[in-house]
Symmetry: C2
Subunit: 330 residues, 2 copies
């Protein structure tokens, strides 16, 4: 295993310490619970929290800041955060306006946040959970009943963050989350596996000429193990799966995201974007906003995902609203 | 070779088309010369151009925009742009205030820009070339006499871009470039090689337990082939090499950059940042600005570089000045 890591058991605390070292003006940590929160929480506004296994950075601790998440906690790489971390994350930023708990749809994350939310509610904190499931690849998966939540999660955080910042009520922010989740679709592809530091070995085997179409962000199987093919053909497979699912139709305004899974360089993401933009035009979709970069990774996996979000005026404004986080992804 | 690529001969034109598709409001291309320029060039201000082989994105075509480069051209992956492309790049944005040509110190790039600058000057365009050589790893290298220019180049572009935007003369902008280059130092490390699409194979061999300390951004040999070691030890090797070279001394205010070489995920870069920040504190350096992400890559190489820039008030202000490019790196 060749990685920038010291003791694999300290990988998550150490990278989180790095995030805080680089953003001490904006963020503070509670290392005991592997949670990062905004320094100044406005008690009159809805707080938004999320948390999952590590290895998907910038999701989620690097998406904390004004206009995005209020706090986030992380578990070990590819493992849900413990219940007490989730509970402390809710408590750390609970406001009178209430807390929206965003959960990507994985059984481990849902269980932890269910229990944490109940504990917080028992103390009088107003909590609503919302489950994100934008991955069209498979219906059920290794760690999910129903669809997985993947990079489309970024748009939920961004739109809800903007709504909360603008003073929306908890019910209104939840409605924004619902609207985004109902209108966002994603599918990914892996060229390589990845190596969780604590495991020290690949999470799945894949041949030198093979790709996994519809891969999950923990290396879960997708729709098909296929032979490597031209970038345009791969982009078309992802685009068609995503665009047919909602479906997206001529005249729609959309946000288009090409998300790198961690090991794919910028130039390759733009090769995919180039084809995806043509496919949008062919279908009569207008790309009102675009995102090319790393939004939800699978450690150092080479691969990418394609996300389409159908926009309305409100969403477009929310995506364009200012935000500030440890990374410049919004 | 598993990459998002169609015909390898079209890799660069296609990713550049993607950059334009995603940033048509800001940028325009002259595909014939693989050059990208700002849409609105202010004729009263100094223009800044750069160009090199592809594979280092966001350097340089993704660093074009207000407050950064005025235009950039790219050659094939890891090969200098042709003379005519450099010449057309200068001509495309030449202003009455003159053109600063930034060149990372590689023989191929220097030769192309030398000839292009002469051709432009023969037409009455005011041109000054400036060579960047921030890599402390080795004195001469495969493709250089003297030191290589690597990620420190970002700070030259940013500070000069801010100065030009503020209306500085060509002589004043050149002085900014000199100041940055005199005060910036970088060293990198590779965990893996990378595969140029047209070659279809790795550019150097490296064992499963080996790292190349002081690697160049084209895979050039560095100081030492070593065994993999803890992230903190690697960070210390890079930091000491860089900090001793200027040298950086207690009381200095610095910008600290951890640059990913293309295949290294965000979390690992923050593990390195965490240690580098401690080493800065140990040496009495105050980190006034920090940068963690991909600024100058080597396609999909797993690895990173560490850059320190000694700041003064003027540089700090220039780094903080607004800018807008195809990526959000500034």
């Amino acid at each position: 295993m060749k990685k920038f890591v010291n003791d694999p058991a300290n990988f998550v605390p150490e990278f989180m310490a790095g995030v805080i070292a680089a953003n001490g003006d904006l963020l503070e940590a509670v290392p005991e619970f592997q949670l990062i929160k905004r320094k100044n929480v406005d008690a009159s506004k809805v707080a938004i929290v999320q948390g999952s296994g590590s290895g998907h950075e910038p999701a989620h601790v690097m998406a904390v800041g004004p206009g995005m998440l209020t706090a986030a906690c992380q578990g070990p790489v590819f493992a849900a955060p413990p219940v007490d971390a989730c509970y402390e994350t809710i408590k750390a930023v609970a406001t009178d306006a209430g807390v929206l708990v965003l959960v990507n749809n994985y059984q481990g994350d849902r269980m932890a946040w269910d229990m944490a939310s109940e504990m917080a509610e028992a103390e009088g904190i107003k909590v609503v959970q919302f489950h994100i499931n934008d991955d069209v690849a498979v219906q059920d998966s290794l760690y999910t009943v129903g669809r997985r939540g993947v990079a489309g999660n970024f748009f939920v955080m961004k739109a809800c963050g903007a709504a909360a910042e603008a003073g929306a009520s908890l019910e209104e922010v939840v409605a924004v989350a619902e609207k985004v989740n109902n209108n966002v679709r994603t599918m990914g592809v892996a060229l390589t596996s990845c190596i969780p530091p604590a495991k020290g070995d690949v999470i799945f085997e894949i041949g030198d000429d093979e790709i996994e179409i519809g891969v999950g962000i923990h290396g879960e199987p997708g729709r098909e193990r296929a032979k490597i093919q031209p970038a345009d053909a791969i982009a078309k497979i992802l685009f068609d799966a995503v665009a047919d699912d909602l479906p997206f139709a001529s005249g729609d305004r959309v946000a288009l995201m090409i998300n790198g899974l961690g090991g794919t360089p910028p130039a390759e993401l733009y090769v995919l974007y180039n084809k995806a933009a043509q496919l949008c035009a062919d279908r009569g979709l207008t790309i009102a906003r675009n995102y090319v970069g790393e939004y939800c990774t699978a450690i150092e996996m080479a691969g990418a995902s394609l996300t389409l979000l159908k926009l309305d005026d409100e969403l477009e404004k929310q995506l364009a609203a200012p935000a500030e986080t440890a990374c410049r992804i919004f």
